[in-house]
């Protein structure tokens, strides 16, 4: 039976997080006034994002993705390559390539399961030679973002649920599979595979990894 390696993306394979992407789009508004306003709002919201993320990933998502309301789909896709070149590509951890290469050489399927936005991560997936990936999708009405995510919203338990469905569909043995994440919110995803590992973990995940004797990797 085949096995796979499941990766979280932001904080795990790249040093950026969702706020960096939002900040990039905020800086690149159609006019200077909107750019300044959006950037300032994003900056001021950072503490709120941090607190809500500690409280619940669902609450965080609800608050966070509202910031995309009014963005045009065309514009987001247009800037995706620039986002990759200027923000994401330099942020890939040096050890990410080694980890993926080693994992691939063992015949494991490489799957990224991320809460980031689909429009923004595709070039990065190509760069990392990852064919199988799933990300969050913004809802667009008449080409304009509503600030809501289309289901399934990938976060916490839904990532684990997506992996279970994927494994069943593809005949993947989860006991022999690996999962990598930096965040406590991905505990469900880490818990359903036979070989979980914490990567550049936050304090809470580090403590959990120590408690469960999981490997702790530093890809920086």
């Amino acid at each position: 039976m085949a096995a796979a390696a499941f990766y979280d993306l932001e904080g795990t394979l790249v040093s950026t997080n969702l706020v960096h992407t939002l900040g990039f789009y905020a800086r690149n508004q159609p006019d200077l006034f909107r750019s300044v306003r959006k950037s300032a709002t994003t900056l001021l919201s950072v503490p709120l994002f941090a607190v809500s993320d500690q409280y619940s990933r669902k609450v965080f998502n609800d608050l966070f993705f509202k910031r995309y309301k009014g963005e045009s789909e065309d514009r987001m896709r247009f800037f995706a390559d620039e986002l990759f070149e200027t923000v994401l590509k330099p942020a890939v951890f040096p050890g990410a390539f080694e980890l993926i290469d080693k994992s691939r050489s063992l015949g494991l399927r490489q799957v990224v399961v991320t809460g980031a936005l689909e429009v923004s991560v595709k070039p990065l997936m190509d760069y990392l030679c990852i064919d199988e990936w799933v990300a969050n999708r913004l809802e667009f009405v008449k080409g304009v973002a509503t600030g809501r995510l289309l289901p399934p919203v990938l976060a916490s338990a839904t990532k684990a649920s997506w992996i279970r469905t994927y494994a069943e569909r593809e005949g993947i043995n989860l006991s022999e599979s690996f999962a990598y994440s930096d965040s406590m919110s991905d505990l469900p995803m880490l818990s359903i595979v036979g070989h979980p590992a914490a990567v550049n973990p936050d304090f809470r995940l580090r403590q959990t990894a120590l408690h469960h004797d999981w490997p702790i990797l530093n890809l920086k």
Partner: protein
């Protein structure tokens, strides 16, 4: 009268009689005082040989008067590519007081290289599948000046998983592959700076093991090789040494190696802890006071603090010999010198062997002696400290004194945790474990990354530690863990447990009889029982 006669067999052998003082035993981070059964033979390490008064001069003399090759200066040409490989932190134990002998060797060699306009120089730590040394440890080992000049671009750890950094050198007629560090292999000259701590170290093992990859290592780090090594501390009867020699022949054919080997004495402690090397019957009042002060202080500290304290005390080894040149003649001379320090002539095997397990081993410097390492110290190192035949009779009982706590270092020994908790409950058969799981662990991407980018031992390393105890496991009838604070760790290792040494001796006598001959290794026992 008989006891009196037996007392004079050798200065390192003491027989316990009715008025003998209790003996000090290390047991993890503690030092305990135990009354040993009357008639027990206690083996002490030989007194330290006198160190060379000027080690820099001795090293300089050795490189200028090498065995079977031109002096080092005569081999140097401007612009040539030179790599210097050095032993890693696994020896000596504990890490020695600065300046480390490796620093002195490097200073002599680097001076010579600079004087001959050799600029393309790299220093590689031959850590093989051991953990990579931290920058702090690397600096401590070579000194600030060399560190500042070479680290990190030209002073680094060997990486056995960096494919581009490795190259296949050849294969023995027994199909044992040899893949070595590319930089070392492609250099015009490879200079190896070794410290010989136990007879297993040095010789062809230095390059062929220290700078190899996993596939090369697994060809000889296997249970069968260990079973056929009687013992691996006796190079003449060690299959492990034979295999390293086979690989070394390829190294000598393909590479230009200039080997510098040094022997050290066994002065592990000096000053306030030197009493640990003495016969307790000869303790002065001051020695007793020092011991009680140490014991009192330690009793007030939590275990991590005791560990930290013990690991922070450097050893005071002195260099007793240095030779240079081609690997084999150099190693032969160093082994001879080593046995001069270590060999204790012993007549007669024992039925029960007692040994305290100290807090340090080659694999847990600045870290925890986890259960697998307790096993490797007992059934591996302490059991194998013999020449000709084991100190313990076949089927005898070995008593190890250690708390056997279930603690692991997550940064240094991540794969040990999985080995201990997942594999040992399934099987303790070294051959089965090797066939079924060794490659899985070796290729586990998490462990590979932790070895490469962190300071973790290679994923396959716990297997080698298990194999290291293989000839001990085959020979010993029963192992009793005295002072074990839990039941499950000894059980997982296949051992029995006892609350204390008295209980353990009673259990052992139940098996071996009341007239069983008992021998105790007095730790720190850097010595070899030279069996008649």
């Amino acid at each position: 009268m008989a006891l009196q006669l037996r007392k004079s067999t050798h200065e390192s052998i003491v027989y316990i009689d009715n008025d003998s003082a209790p003996r000090i035993m290390p047991s993890g981070e503690d030092f305990i005082l135990e009354d040993i059964p009357v008639g027990t033979r206690v083996l002490y390490p030989n007194p330290p040989l006198k160190g060379l008064p000027n080690r820099e001069a001795a090293i300089r003399y050795a490189v200028n008067h090498p065995f079977d090759c031109d002096p080092l200066y005569a081999q140097l040409k401007p612009g040539m590519k030179v790599t210097i490989a050095v032993d890693d932190i696994s020896l000596p134990l504990p890490p020695m007081a600065t300046p480390d002998i490796r620093q002195t060797m490097l200073e002599v060699v680097l001076d010579l290289l600079a004087a001959n306009a050799v600029d393309d120089v790299h220093i590689i730590i031959a850590n093989s599948l051991h953990r990579k040394m931290t920058p702090w440890e690397m600096k401590r080992m070579v000194g600030q000046k060399i560190y500042d000049e070479f680290y990190p671009d030209r002073y680094y750890n060997h990486d056995a998983e960096w494919k581009e950094g490795l190259i296949k050198i050849g294969e023995t007629r027994h199909k044992e592959p040899l893949v070595l560090n590319r930089r070392a292999a492609e250099s015009d000259l490879l200079i190896y700076c070794n410290i010989n701590f136990v007879p297993m170290d040095g010789g062809h093992k230095s390059v062929a093991v220290g700078l190899c990859d996993y596939e090369s290592l697994r060809a000889h780090h296997d249970p069968q090789t260990i079973r056929e090594s009687d013992s691996y501390m006796d190079p003449a009867r060690s299959e492990l040494a034979n295999k390293c020699i086979r690989l070394g022949k390829i190294v000598d054919k393909e590479l230009n190696v200039f080997h510098i080997e040094t022997a050290i004495n066994n002065r592990m402690y000096k000053g306030d802890m030197d009493f640990l090397l003495k016969n307790e019957d000869d303790f002065t009042a001051f020695d007793r006071m020092k011991f009680e002060a140490m014991r009192y202080t330690m009793s007030k500290l939590p275990r991590p603090a005791r560990r930290k304290l013990l690991h922070s005390r450097p050893a005071h080894y002195e260099m007793t010999a240095c030779y240079a040149g081609k690997t084999e003649p150099v190693h032969a001379k160093i082994i001879e010198k080593g046995f001069q320090q270590y060999a204790i002539p012993v007549r007669g095997q024992c039925d029960i062997l007692i040994t305290g397990i100290p807090d340090i081993s080659p694999y847990n410097v600045y870290s925890i002696l986890n259960p697998l390492l307790v096993q490797v110290m007992g059934l591996g190192y302490h059991f194998n400290f013999y020449r000709n035949k084991p100190l313990l009779k076949k089927g005898g009982v070995m008593i190890v004194h250690h708390p056997c706590y279930d603690e692991f270092d997550h940064n240094f020994h991540p794969s040990y945790i999985e080995f201990f908790n997942r594999l040992l409950p399934e099987s303790r058969d070294a051959f089965y474990l090797r066939d079924k799981y060794e490659r899985e662990f070796a290729n586990n991407p998490s462990y590979v990354e932790m070895y490469r980018r962190g300071n973790a031992y290679h994923g396959a390393h716990p297997f080698f530690m298990w194999y290291w105890g293989e000839n001990g496991r085959q020979h010993v009838g029963k192992v009793i863990a005295a002072g074990a604070e839990n039941a499950h760790v000894p059980a997982m290792l296949g051992w029995e447990r006892a609350d204390n040494l008295t209980e353990a001796v009673a259990m052992a006598r139940n098996i071996m009889g009341n007239s069983a001959e008992i021998t105790m290794l007095h730790q720190p026992m850097i010595g070899i029982a030279d069996m008649e």
